[in-house]
């Protein structure tokens, strides 16, 4: 299970589900200058950028991934804008070709001796920060289930879909346990859909990352999210270890009271699919930002 090679004939699917409720306009605890929605949009754009780059073979982007980015707040909608907004699950090559804008900047990297040089880099933008409305988590998860059912009917073989759900609060439209379990019961011949949840907080509270039992979780909402979080398959555990994130066999893809670094790691681990993990040399000489 969770070992299928990801190919163009048998691509996998990645769904990024983002809480875009009004509370996402609040800052992180201890970082009053940075709104949660701004940071999450930045990380999601970076994640899409990484997926595109991983699939780039010389001048072509190969469709190893099919991607959906959904937001929920005032309504449940595609978080993409422009020509991608009207589509459900989109081949990664189409994502590559339709950013809203491409920002240019410079990045300092080692010159191989003792100094640094600045090189031009490009930052494509697909989604803008949004924070409006309540937290219709059940409606959003229902939409995810519908999307996946349609996608799985056409892609019954291969590495199963991964859903990365990020939220900063409790569901405003009911208990998400049942719909979460229904999503986790879908799958391909290589395993069930992986549903990972990252809860972030504006409050100063102890974070719990990738637990393997419920004992450290503070309340019923946290325990519900834990129960609808899939155990991390072996390749994801290896990716977590590469990032220096502590996990054990049985760790769930679940973060509670996460901070900005938790979000970055959550997306990196959640998209580290079998056979597609970047070699460490890819970025090892880049100066840490």
């Amino acid at each position: 299970m969770y070992s299928a090679q990801i190919t163009r004939a048998n691509p996998t699917c990645v769904v990024l589900l983002i809480d875009q409720s009004a509370s996402m306009s609040d800052p992180f605890s201890g970082d009053s200058a940075r709104k949660k929605a701004d940071f999450v949009a930045e990380v999601v754009n970076h994640t899409l950028h990484d997926l595109v780059i991983r699939c780039t073979k010389t001048e072509e982007v190969r469709n190893y991934y099919h991607v959906a980015v959904l937001g929920y707040g005032r309504q449940v909608w595609s978080a993409f804008a422009g020509p991608l907004a009207s589509r459900e699950i989109i081949p990664i090559a189409d994502v590559a070709d339709h950013p809203l804008q491409i920002k240019s900047s410079y990045k300092r990297v080692s010159d191989g001796a003792s100094g640094w040089v600045e090189i031009p880099v490009r930052f494509p933008v697909w989604i803008h920060p949004t924070a409006d409305g309540k937290t219709p988590m059940c409606e959003a998860l229902t939409r995810v289930k519908q999307l996946l059912e349609r996608w799985l009917a056409q892609h019954p073989r291969g590495f199963p879909p991964t859903v990365l759900h990020l939220t900063d609060g409790e569901s405003s439209d009911g208990e998400p346990f049942d719909i979460g379990q229904q999503i986790m019961s879908l799958g391909t011949d290589d395993g069930n859909v992986l549903l990972f949840n990252c809860h972030i907080s504006s409050r100063r509270a102890a974070k719990v990352e990738y637990p393997s039992d419920e004992s450290l979780l503070p309340d019923g909402f946290a325990r519900t999210l834990y129960k609808i979080s899939s155990p991390l398959p072996q390749s994801f555990l290896a990716a977590a270890a590469q990032l220096g994130v502590h996990t054990v066999d049985g760790s769930r893809g679940f973060v509670f009271n996460g901070d900005p670094s938790s979000i970055v790691q959550f997306y990196e681990i959640g998209t580290s699919l079998t056979g597609m993990t970047p070699y460490r040399w890819m970025d090892e000489i880049t100066e840490p930002e």
Partner: protein, 254 residues
């Protein structure tokens, strides 16, 4: 199959297998084999799947290294790689690339590489090899594995090794990881050059004292089928496969 290397007292039997990943086209194979019996050089390069233009980089490394006859030292190798890298990057600069290709090209290309140079012109034939990454050379005698480089255990294939980089800055930083070694041969010794999936498969069997000389017992098409079946059975990882088998034989005087 060929058996053409001529020298005073020795000849060479050369065989090879090159297979793309299952489900992939031959044109997508990122392993390359270089064979040049005039220079006595043989090489396998394995382009890193996620790198930009990895196929061209691996092809350039394998095919051009066997053509050149420069001394086999760390400095010479790095200078040669720098030249090949510059030529590759120069070819890219002629292209108008979309943003994603430009980003990927900025990091350069990467490949594992192993090359061996045989000297069969003396009474005591010998080899000298150079390797970076997880493409391997095995030296075997009478069913025993005498030497394996740069990886010596099947358990060591899961790490992310330093590879031959087309970028001159990264190329410099990999100097300490380059492995250069040499050995002497006896009649019927066998050298294998392999990319990582096949190397891991062979090493696992050597570790069980089970010398799997597939190419001795099969012609090249049947050996390729054998490896495909091993993949289906889940005993070999679904990756590109490159194998060169070199058997050093004493020339018959009759």
């Amino acid at each position: 199959m060929s058996s053409v290397k001529q020298s005073a007292g020795w000849e060479l039997r050369t065989q090879q297998v090159l297979l793309p990943k299952s489900g992939f086209e031959e044109s997508e194979c990122e392993d390359f084999i270089g064979i040049n019996e005039q220079t006595g050089r043989f090489a396998v390069a394995d382009g890193a799947t996620e790198a930009f233009d990895a196929r061209n980089w691996a092809q350039r490394l394998a095919e051009n290294w066997v053509r050149n006859d420069s001394a086999l030292t760390s400095e010479t190798f790095h200078d040669w790689v720098a030249g090949e890298g510059a030529a590759l990057h120069s070819a890219w600069s002629q292209l108008t690339l979309p943003w994603y290709a430009e980003e990927k090209a900025r990091k350069g290309s990467f490949a594992a590489f192993v090359g061996v140079e045989l000297d069969l012109h003396s009474d005591a034939p010998s080899w000298k090899a150079i390797a970076l990454g997880d493409a391997c050379l095995f030296h075997c005698r009478a069913g025993e594995l005498l030497k394996s480089l740069p990886v010596s255990s099947s358990a060591d294939f899961n790490s992310a090794p330093l590879l031959v980089a087309s970028d001159p800055v990264i190329n410099k930083t990999s100097a300490d990881s380059l492995v250069i070694d040499s050995g002497r041969c006896q009649p019927n010794d066998i050298l294998f050059l392999l990319s990582d999936a096949a190397a891991a498969w062979y090493l696992e069997r050597f570790e069980r004292n089970d010398f799997p000389d597939i190419l001795r017992d099969n012609d090249e098409p049947n050996a390729a089928k054998f490896f495909e079946n091993e993949r289906v059975a889940g005993r070999i990882r679904n990756d590109d496969i490159a194998v060169i088998r070199l058997e050093i034989q004493q020339r018959s005087t009759s």
